[in-house]
């Protein structure tokens, strides 16, 4: 187990390293430079050189790369070119907002998705099943930013005063207000997760109900309730774990659009801003954060699978290849 974890962590670190390099290369190859924006009318060659010197942008690219890696190794993500604020600090401010949004959206919606998927499968062919199928495919297809706009329209123009359509109320200003502010962004952000989870779970429950072990349990006279609890749901949950992990990753990137629609000051906003301004260190920091989050969720998913599926556990712990 430990050696497996170790292997996974090493793989994670190497992937992160590769992502860093990719990000770094892309950043440095992109035209323009934050210096132009920074200096504007004050631009001059000497000025550029001096500022570049201060920001460490004068060195050759490999040199900068090595420096960046060394910095990273020391836990330093650099500082914003513009505000001089340490990237770590910026992330520490923004990431929790996004994470909270993502987790709230994910938790609520996935729970609903599981419920809807299971019920639909158990009432296979019923109107409810049809409803879940239709809802989930529509929910999956609705572009989040557009749905966000529709929400803004509905709650900002037609039914005002019920739910705030913009802005973010920090938790320090009271939990109810804070949660009220989260309702719409979480609704929009989580909807696809609901759809995917509902579809997957419906499918896997249906599939499981068709399996030999369910017929055997039935033929042994096991009651339906017990059967569902002990056999069906447990096995149907195996593919669900994977999908839920993927959805968590998806929520992170979905947040970029949704945060922009609802003006939520999360990682997404920071990311878009930093890209617009070519704030190298911040942009890189954001990408890193996303990549690490994504890879960590992957790892968690794999671990969850290990916990839930003995065959995978066996395969992995015996040194078999992972996926």
């Amino acid at each position: 187990m430990v050696s497996y974890l170790l292997r996974r962590l090493i793989a994670l670190v190497t992937t992160v390293l590769a992502v860093i390099s990719l990000v770094f290369v892309l950043l440095r190859l992109s035209p323009g430079s934050p210096l132009y924006t920074l200096l504007g009318f004050s631009y001059s060659e000497e000025g550029r050189a001096a500022v570049a010197e201060r920001l460490g942008l004068n060195a050759s690219i490999p040199e900068q790369y090595v420096r960046y890696l060394r910095q990273l190794a020391g836990g330093d993500l650099g500082a914003s070119v513009f505000s001089g604020q340490p990237v770590g600090e910026l992330l520490a401010q923004r990431l929790p907002v996004s994470l909270e949004l993502g987790l709230v959206a994910g938790a609520v919606w996935m729970a609903l998705g599981i419920l809807a998927g299971a019920l639909a499968a158990l009432r296979h062919g019923s109107p409810f099943d049809g409803l879940v199928r239709v809802t989930s495919v529509v929910a999956l297809s609705v572009p989040s930013f557009w749905l966000g706009l529709v929400c803004v329209l509905v709650f900002g123009v037609y039914i005002t005063g019920v739910l705030p359509v913009s802005g973010y109320v920090p938790i320090s200003e009271g939990l109810p207000e804070h949660l009220r502010g989260l309702v719409l962004p979480a609704f929009v952000l989580g909807l696809p997760a609901f759809a995917v989870v509902a579809r997957t779970f419906r499918g896997s429950v249906l599939e499981v109900l068709d399996r030999d072990y369910v017929s055997f349990a039935t033929s042994m006279g096991m009651s339906r309730r017990t059967l569902l609890a002990r056999v069906a749901m447990r096995n149907a949950a195996i593919p669900l774990v994977t999908v839920m992990g993927l959805m968590l990753g998806m929520l992170v990137s979905g947040a970029i659009l949704v945060e922009n629609v609802f003006g939520v000051p999360g990682l997404g906003q920071l990311m878009v801003d930093s890209f617009r301004r070519q704030d190298y260190p911040v942009a890189a920091g954001c990408c890193l954060a996303v990549a690490v989050l994504y890879l960590l969720t992957n790892l968690l998913v794999d671990l969850a699978q290990l916990a839930i599926d003995p065959r995978i556990r066996e395969g992995v712990l015996n040194g078999g290849r992972v996926r």
Partner: protein
């Protein structure tokens, strides 16, 4: 419920009334018939073998008896009596109780018949939480399972699992009827021998009726008392095992026997049935499906076919509990071989 535990041998039992009587059973899946007008009966202590090619409706028949059919299946029967009760009229809960205590099913694929995500021992306790589990396991030579409380099904071999399933379906609950749907098809010869031995011992000790489904005529010859031969959803012939093997009356049964290498001289061509394309087989099945209009389903492949076979479905000729469905069943075998 089980008052026979002490009595042992079925021979000493009171008059051997039929435990299970199936009469004129029809099952179709979304309109496509899978079992057509099958009637059979089974006594306590009897092993009835059910043979027939793939898709002939053997499993469907078994499922219809236990009432565990997939959605979309429709069952019609003149009677489905089990120990004096009409199963088709039972409320689901009662049916479930019957499954839970009186009918055992040994599934075809042991490897996939236990939930893969729960340890085997825990699953066994779902079904049987008596203290005698150790004894039962010892009977099948698998006491060691008790020392592997955290092992999941994939850790066990097919033979082991099949024996565990037999423990659950048969030994632990001592049902009156045991349905074994090709329980050894996926197993090796040596393991198959173990499992067959186990079933025979079980029958001898506890005397349940056993419905044994298989492809393998040799297995039938070894363990069954009576045989039913199915073709395209019909029971085309049934009878005591000795009679079926020595004097088969239906041409399909004869073809099956002729195809056995062990009954043919080494290196000689085997007796093979003509006609085996999907088209032909489905055609004959479909034709059977359109009730009344069709002839014998086996006609397209029958070596002794008559013109009338194509037009008119043969009516079952019964002799006691046995049956044969062939227009030429009355003729002497010699005449057929000439044809």
């Amino acid at each position: 419920m089980n008052d026979r535990q002490a009595t042992g041998s079925p021979v000493t039992d009171p008059p051997p009334a039929d435990l299970l009587t199936v009469s004129d059973l029809h099952v179709d899946y979304a309109g496509r018939p899978a079992v057509r007008g099958v009637s059979l009966s089974l006594r306590r202590g009897e092993i009835l073998g059910l043979v027939g090619e793939s898709g002939s409706g053997k499993s469907t028949l078994c499922s219809a008896i236990t009432g565990v059919l997939p959605a979309g299946a429709r069952v019609r029967a003149a009677g489905l009596r089990f120990d004096g009760r009409e199963l088709t009229e039972l409320p689901p809960e009662d049916m479930r109780r019957i499954r839970a205590s009186r009918i055992g099913v040994v599934p075809q694929r042991p490897m996939t018949s236990l939930s893969p995500s729960t340890p085997v021992l825990r699953q066994m306790r779902w079904y049987h939480d008596g203290h005698d589990l150790a004894d039962l396991l010892a009977q099948v030579g698998l006491r060691a399972v008790l020392d592997r409380p955290r092992d999941h099904p994939h850790r066990f071999s097919g033979g082991q699992l099949q024996r565990l399933l037999i423990v659950l379906a048969a030994l632990a609950r001592q049902p009156d009827l045991l349905i074994a749907d090709e329980p050894t098809t996926t197993l090796d010869a040596t393991v198959q021998a173990q499992v067959l031995r186990l079933l025979l011992d079980l029958r001898d000790r506890l005397g349940p009726a056993i419905l044994y489904v298989t492809h393998d005529l040799a297995v039938v010859a070894q363990i069954c008392d009576r045989v039913g031969v199915m073709y395209a959803g019909r029971l085309v012939e049934s009878g005591p095992v000795s009679q079926i093997f020595t004097a088969p009356r239906h041409p399909y049964t004869r073809a099956l026997l002729a195809a056995l290498p062990a009954r043919t001289e080494r290196g000689r061509r085997l007796g093979a049935m003509p006609g085996h394309t999907v088209a032909e087989v489905t055609l004959s099945r479909e034709r059977g499906a359109r009730a009344g209009s069709a002839g014998c389903a086996f006609a397209p492949r029958c070596p002794v076919v008559l013109a009338r076979c194509h037009e008119e479905e043969p009516t079952p000729i019964t002799m006691g509990t046995d049956v044969v469905r062939c227009h030429r069943a009355g003729e002497t075998p010699e005449a057929e071989e000439d044809a």
